[in-house]
């Protein structure tokens, strides 16, 4: 790389001659809005020099004296010739280009290292501009990509974090599969939801090797580059205000089929009671109805009272109760203000944002404050200094109690007939952790009231977290020798977070602790009072630095851009232990933590225990990265482009020999704009045609693996001795995972460019994928050793697919109609798997182990024959005989005989967005679809209702001979037989098609612009309405299941937002 640069130098020096010349500086801007045009070609026709405008539109060029003509060309704009006369023209020249409506929109892609006009990029980029990003409303930036970026797949609908996203499928099996997020040119591995979407200018998704390999070892899963807004030179101050309010509907708690009506649950509980199933002892929780039956049996309740309470239970439904007291419609307020502008040598951007969210659970809320200030100066010729400060503060309250929090114990669910408040609105107790009857006796036993009343918990708990983040950027850029610039950038990020919970003395949490440790003589080991618990404190300091040399030159028909540099990064994360203060007084800030933690006390109702000792767990993790990179592209005749990149990445991987700490990665690519060729003859209907192809490698870091054995130290409160957990047993032959990608693409414009689009094909070969070796447990490596990793390079994976994007301008003029259709196909297949195949069949259903020739997302099933005519039990085939020999069937089932039902991640997906405009009124809606995948729906197997497993399929069970004709749900049984259950639960009977079409959102906006409304005090006002999660238009399954919310308590409720944007 060094050699190339020096050669480039020599060329540039040779080209810069010596006589009758003068250096002229200037700026190329768009005539429409004064925004700088990056990468415009500037040529002095007499002198014969040429250059390219830099990232702020500036250029410096040698011109002939006394007269010369500057020819400025820029894709998407009308070329312009400007005469330069030495005696008349000023030292600076502003050149304003007019947009050429007949050409493609010019898009400048920011990779985080360089900016390149899409026309000269060989790689595969998805660019999402500001307008498209702002189409949706909400506090999270990543969520806005859903359904608008080809090749970007949301595996969790409505996701807000990188782990919810797959870019062009997967390229790993067990390592990190999240895409890399880059914010303002540096990797951002913190919580992305701290970013205010109003500060974001654009997002570029880097999809193939040529695009992503500049990001090296972390780029194997794709890269999402977020660029924030900046001020512009010579632009008068602009103030923009945006405010909106979102309202959500209450969730549909009846969506979840895994519940039964209260009356049915009561019948089941009565049967269990009659069977003597309930252990009547204080420490075992018993359902409230069973308690009632026990009271009746023991004559502790009159028949009238029994009937009254029973009737009350029958007409209660916890979902109604929860909707009334625990859930609500979400509310979100967003306010954003920004001011930007600039003078000759100065530009700035100042923004503030405030978001407030009242969550779907009563008691949950979040607030976010963002402030950001960026300044750029040009103190000297060729020198540009930029500084930026971002500050984010977030505060959340997490007091909400959902249905799952009401479960009386692990593996149980709250009874459907549970009631949260009486007719007067007084909080009522529900069974929790121990027997209600035992809690009733608490006062007699000299204990505090021991009941758990959810509504009281809500009122007396105060749980919250607070985090702040500073981000400082500083950058110096110096341009010299016409074609060179050197840039040094430094970034410092400092996120901190704390969380705290206050439990009032009224809370179950406090009363339970006091009661458990109350001694026979009535002594309270834990004092009765409030409690304050602090969570783990986290503090991270991230320093990043980059030094980069750019070369940008045009001579004759040649254009070369190149860069080389190095980057260094350190992230130090520290965690310090939380605390617990007993008998805490909120007003006086007094409390105690002075206890004998090693003393074992008898506890109520049984056993003995120690008070849990304060945590002493500390953490200190240092991640270091060092990279060298280079990138060059050469364009000839604006038609042929060749590009290449090279990068070496190193990190302080632990337990690795030094020579294995780094990996070299590279890419090459080329493009050809066929429609510019003289021989091109189909320009009348296909006026634009460009072909691209790239190949290259990127990687994926797995920080958990180690070639040497490793241990983790911790302190032990019981022995007082330090101890070590073994994390790795070591594997000397580990190699880095690598992803090689081929990408081939066609960009085209049809029929006077009314239809534009691109078709891309890619093939990703991921090799040396790291995963758990499957070993006989006698080696010590088994499910038991959960902390132990025994990773090997065990598989190769191939992911291939298509991304198609088509945009049609169906109508233009006062009424316009534009349609954008996205289509993606993606499939992965494990091509090689070199550890023994897992023989435990049940694992193939819970988390399918990799298997050569299969997709990573494969769904396996047992075959399904149907239900037995006589008994209604599942029929299975053993040695050609159809019967009910479940043990033989499951025990001897071989992996090869499993059926492949399909894949769980949609291999086909896309969207269709239509935008209608009539003058200043605009309406758009986006329809998403997913196809070609399946999921395993839940159901109930014989006898499961006696083990707290409920499902509405209970009512569809086989009841009498003949029912097998119209149901697959087996008959009831006294008890669960695991093999019988599995033969239904994992069978093809429950495989459900996931295909569906969804109306994602609708947006309506009207813009009052000053050029139409002369009296308008502002530049323009835009009012908009936006509605999201409108629901499913069509689905392949007839079970009423939303495939995006298969096992959820409820689907994402519909939201409706109103907002206004003002620009001064």
């Amino acid at each position: 790389m060094k050699l190339i640069l020096i050669t480039l130098f020599a060329i540039s020096i040779a080209a810069s001659g010596a006589m009758g010349q003068q250096t002229l500086r200037g700026t190329v801007v768009s005539a429409a809005d004064g925004s700088p045009l990056v990468g415009a070609s500037v040529r002095s026709t007499v002198r014969g020099a040429s250059t390219i405008s830099d990232h702020s539109g500036r250029f410096t060029i040698a011109v002939a004296v006394p007269i010369d003509t500057l020819r400025v060309t820029y894709v998407g704009y009308v070329s312009k010739d400007t005469v330069y006369i030495a005696s008349q023209s000023a030292g600076e020249m502003d050149i304003r280009l007019i947009h050429d409506a007949s050409t493609l929109e010019e898009v400048v892609i920011n990779t985080g290292y360089y900016e390149v006009p899409r026309e000269r990029a060989t790689g595969s980029f998805t660019h999402v501009d500001n307008e498209l990003l702002n189409r949706s409303v909400g506090p999270d930036i990543l969520q806005r990509l859903e359904g608008i970026a080809p090749g970007v797949q949301f595996v969790n609908a409505g996701g807000t974090s990188p782990s919810d996203i797959r870019i062009r499928g997967v390229a790993t099996i067990e390592s990190d599969e999240t895409p890399l997020i880059v914010v303002d040119n540096f990797p951002y591995e913190l919580d992305i939801s701290t970013i205010n979407p109003n500060d974001v200018e654009s997002i570029t998704v880097l999809r193939d090797a040529a695009a992503a390999s500049i990001w090296g070892a972390r780029a194997g899963n794709g890269v999402i580059v977020i660029t924030t807004k900046q001020g512009r030179y010579n632009q008068k101050a602009r103030i923009s205000v945006n405010s909106n309010f979102t309202m959500g509907e209450k969730p549909d708690l009846y969506y979840n089929p895994n519940r039964l009506p209260g009356a049915t649950v009561m019948e089941i509980e009565r049967e269990l009671f009659e069977r003597g199933n309930y252990a009547e002892q204080p420490q075992t929780v018993i359902p409230a109805y069973a308690e009632l039956l026990i009271k009746q049996r023991d004559g502790l309740i009159s028949q009238a009272d029994f009937a009254k309470e029973e009737a009350q239970m029958r007409q209660t439904d916890i979902r109604d109760e929860a909707l009334r007291y625990l859930y609500r419609g979400e509310r979100h307020q967003q306010y954003a203000l920004n001011i930007s502008g600039g003078g000759d040598n100065y530009r700035y951007y100042l923004a503030a944002g405030y978001d407030r969210n009242n969550g779907i659970l009563v008691g949950n809320s979040a607030e976010r404050l963002n402030i950001n200030l960026q300044n750029t100066f040009r103190p000297l010729k060729g020198l540009e200094v930029t500084t930026g400060v971002w500050y984010t503060q977030r505060q959340t309250a997490n007091n909400g109690i959902g249905l799952s929090d009401l479960a009386p114990g692990s593996g149980q669910t709250v009874s459907t007939y549970a009631r949260l408040a009486d007719d007067q609105g007084n909080a009522l107790p529900i069974p929790y952790e121990r027997r209600l009857a035992y809690y009733d006796e608490a006062a007699e036993l000299g204990l505090l009231d021991w009941h758990f009343r959810p509504l009281d918990e809500l009122a007396h708990t105060d749980r919250g977290s607070h985090d702040t983040e500073y981000r400082l950027n500083a950058s110096v850029r110096y341009s010299f020798l016409n074609s060179f610039s050197v840039q040094a950038t430094y970034q410092y990020v400092r996120p901190t977070g704390t969380s705290e919970t206050y439990y009032g003395p009224e809370t179950y949490y406090v009363r339970n602790l006091v009661n458990r440790f109350t001694q026979v003589d009535g002594a309270q080991i834990v004092p009765y009072g409030g409690m304050l618990e602090g969570g783990l404190n986290g503090l991270t300091n991230i320093h990043s630095g980059r030094l980069q040399l750019n070369y940008n030159r045009e001579f004759g028909l040649h254009r070369i851009t190149a860069l080389a540099g190095g980057e260094i990064r350190q992230s130090v994360g520290q965690t310090s232990p939380g605390f617990r203060i007993y008998n805490y007084d909120r007003d006086l800030l007094t409390g105690t933590a002075n206890f004998n933690y090693s003393q074992s006390y008898p506890t109520n109702p049984t056993g003995s225990a120690q008070l849990s000792a304060p945590s002493v767990s500390m953490g200190h993790v240092t991640d270091r990265f060092l990279s060298y990179f280079g990138n060059a592209s050469y364009t000839y005749c604006d038609r042929y482009t060749l590009s290449g990149s090279l990068r070496w990445d190193g990190s302080n991987l632990f337990g690795v020999k030094t020579n294995q700490k780094g990996v070299p990665l590279w890419s090459i690519g080329g493009s050809w704009e066929a429609s510019k060729e003289a021989f091109y003859s189909v320009g009348d209907w296909l006026p634009y045609l460009r072909l691209r192809a790239t190949y290259g490698s990127a990687g994926n870091v797995n920080k958990q693996v180690s070639v040497l054995p490793t241990i983790n130290y911790a302190s032990d409160g019981t022995t007082g001795l330090p101890f070590a957990r073994v994390r790795n047993i070591g594997n000397p032959s580990l190699r880095w995972e690598q992803v090689n990608t081929v990408n081939a693409a066609v960009d085209f414009g049809l029929f006077n460019r009314r239809i534009q689009g691109s078709v891309e094909y890619y093939n990703k070969y991921a090799s040396d994928l790291i995963g758990e070796d499957y070993l006989p447990p006698s080696t010590g490596v088994s499910l038991w050793a959960t902390n132990l990793s025994n990773d090997i390079n065990y598989a190769n994976l191939r992911t291939q697919g298509w991304d198609v994007q088509l945009t049609g301008r169906n109508f233009t003029g006062a009424f316009s109609w534009e349609t954008t259709a996205l289509f993606s196909q993606v499939r992965n297949r494990i091509t090689n798997f070199n550890t023994p195949e897992v023989s435990t069949i049940s694992l193939y259903f819970s988390s399918p182990p990799p298997s050569a020739g299969q997709s990573r997302d494969v769904v396996y099933t047992y075959p399904w024959i149907g239900l037995d005519h006589e008994t209604g039990m599942p029929l299975v085939e053993v040695d050609g005989e159809i019967g009910m020999e479940y043990t033989d069937y499951i025990r001897n089932f071989r992996k090869e005989d499993l059926l492949i039902a399909g894949v769980r991640i949609p291999p086909y997906y896309g969207s269709l967005m239509n935008t209608f405009s009539w003058n200043d009124l605009q309406l758009s809606f986006n329809i998403n679809w997913k196809a070609g995948y399946v999921f395993r729906r839940s159901s109930i197997t014989p006898g499961e209702e006696y083990f707290n497993v409920y499902h509405m399929d209970y009512f569809r069970r086989w009841e009498k001979p003949g029912d097998e004709a119209h149901t697959d749900v087996p008959a009831r049984a006294e008890t669960v037989q695991a093999y019988r259950s599995q033969s239904y639960m994992y069978s093809a009977a429950l495989i459900t098609k996931g295909d569906h079409i969804r109306l994602q959102d609708i947006r309506l906006s009207y813009t009052f612009a000053r050029n139409r409304f002369k009296t308008l005090p502002v530049e323009y006002i835009r009012v908009y309405a936006y509605t999201h999660n409108l629901g499913i238009l069509w689905r392949a399954n007839g079970n009423g299941i939303d495939p995006d919310y298969q096992l959820a308590e409820y689907t994402a409720p519909r939201t409706f937002a109103m907002g206004m944007q003002l620009d001064f």
Binding site: T284, G566, V621, F654, F723, G780, A978
Partner: protein
């Protein structure tokens, strides 16, 4: 031209990989280490949550005759090993992995890591003591876990057939790619004895806590293993050696027998009988909400025996639950204690024909268990009668220690002491008679598949 010089200097600096090397040398997490020091290896063994809890006794406890459960409770069991293990069914695991197996081999892996790691350390004289201790501890843990596995997954030791009976896979190296096969019962036990003899030499008499192995603990386990092998001479010798180092007993006359738990839960710190602290969770089938103490066992306690009220608690509904665990809670103590050593010493003496010494050992223990006013020392001079008393005493004393399963297996080879275990479940009678292949649990299915080793007969 100055620009160019600066530029070249810059490029040169970036191209310099040398400064990068050091930059990347820093350790990622402060609490992380590549184990190299003696203290690192001691740290691995001091992880008592792995080494001393979930001991591999579950199957033995489930299968033995110290308890029974009611039909409704049996029917409500969801763990296959409990539900099927209770009736010694054909298929015990239903394809699930087996914790007793997995946990023991995990601990063996850790012990082997320590042994291999300390092989490479040449201790200085100042380090010799620590090196001896960590190696002795690792050998003890390896033997302890191999021994537990041998009680569950291979036939009881019989000198006549031990060199042919299939043993358990003996893992003596960390290399996970090695396959070791099943070997023989003889090889299994001789490895256990060899490891323990070496450990007894290396271990200190006193350890920092009861979860660390010590010399008395190594002697105690040797005594237990040798007794199991029928080598009464050596077993008696090691039990005596153990008692010469630690012989204290708890006097039940001084305990409050009415508490919900007889002992406190402090990892053996305050119980002088505990030689090595180890425990197994009570699981579901033997938890207090399902457990019925075996009525035969309850009837075996004579008047004045404090253990009946000390060990058992009536919780109504005709159920007696166990509350005498040395663990001090609802988990079962499965470690080593001096009371067992008195019983081993007594049994070995009587089997070797030394009646008076046998009586002495037995009476010393019983003195500490009986109400002083009602206690009359055992005085029989009849060998058979005394042995019978001692064996019954094991049954009464070592309740839910995981030892009953071993004793049943061992004694079933002697027709006069053999016992059948019988269960009545849902009106069906299940019997496990002496000599049945079901005294050996099946090897876990995934082990058989992946290691390609022969399964036990069933």
């Amino acid at each position: 031209m100055n620009d160019i010089k600066t530029l070249i200097a810059l490029i040169a600096c970036l191209a310099l990989g040398a400064c990068g090397k050091e930059f990347l040398e820093v350790k990622r997490s402060k609490s992380q280490a590549v184990p190299a020091e003696i203290s690192d290896f001691q740290g691995i063994l001091d992880n008592w949550r792995e080494m001393n809890s979930s001991s591999s006794h579950r199957l033995g406890i489930v299968g033995a005759d110290e308890y029974y459960v009611a039909d409704n409770h049996w029917r409500a069991l969801s763990d296959p090993y409990e539900k099927n293990g209770y009736i010694w069914a054909d298929d015990v695991y239903e394809g699930k992995e087996v914790d007793d197996w997995n946990a023991a081999y995990y601990r063996i892996l850790l012990a082997n890591m320590v042994l291999e790691g300390t092989d490479n350390i040449q201790p200085s004289p100042a380090e010799q003591e620590a090196w001896d201790k960590v190696r002795g501890s690792a050998l003890f843990f390896r033997a302890w876990n191999h021994y537990q596995l041998a009680q569950l997954f291979c036939k009881p030791y019989d000198p006549a057939t031990a060199s042919e009976d299939m043993g358990i896979p003996l893992r003596l190296q960390t290399d996970v790619t090695r396959s070791v096969g099943r070997g023989t019962v003889e090889a299994t036990y001789s490895q256990i004895v060899q490891d323990l003899k070496e450990a007894a030499e290396l271990l200190p008499v006193e350890s920092l806590n009861k979860m660390q192995p010590s010399r008395p603990a190594a002697c105690a386990l040797l005594a237990r293993a040798l007794l199991n092998m029928g080598d009464y001479a050596q077993a008696g010798e090691y039990a005596g050696m153990c008692l010469s180092l630690r012989d204290e007993l708890v006097d039940f006359n001084r305990l409050d027998l009415t508490t919900n738990q007889l002992f406190v839960s402090d990892y053996g710190a305050s119980n002088p009988e505990v030689l090595f602290f180890c425990f197994a969770a009570s699981g579901t089938i033997t938890s207090n909400s399902r457990f019925h103490a075996d009525s035969v066992l309850l009837d075996m306690y004579a008047p004045g025996d404090h253990r009946l009220s000390g060990y058992f608690r009536d919780i109504g509904g005709g159920r007696q639950v166990f509350k005498g665990s040395y663990q001090g809670g609802t988990s079962f103590f499965t470690g080593l204690a001096t009371d067992e050593m008195y019983l081993i010493a007594a049994e070995c003496q009587v089997r070797n024909g030394n009646i008076p010494d046998a009586r002495n050992y037995l009476n010393t223990l019983l003195e500490h268990r009986y109400d002083a006013s009602l206690f009359s020392p055992v005085s029989t001079g009849d060998r058979g009668q005394l042995l019978r008393i001692i064996l019954d005493e094991r049954h009464r004393e070592l309740v839910l220690r995981g030892l009953r399963w071993e004793d049943l297996r061992r004694l079933n080879k002697e027709p006069e002491y053999a016992t059948s275990v019988v269960r009545e479940v849902m009106a069906t009678r299940y019997e496990l008679p002496p000599g049945s292949p079901r005294w050996v649990w099946p090897i876990p299915d995934n082990e058989v598949d992946l290691a390609d080793i022969p399964q036990n007969d069933r």
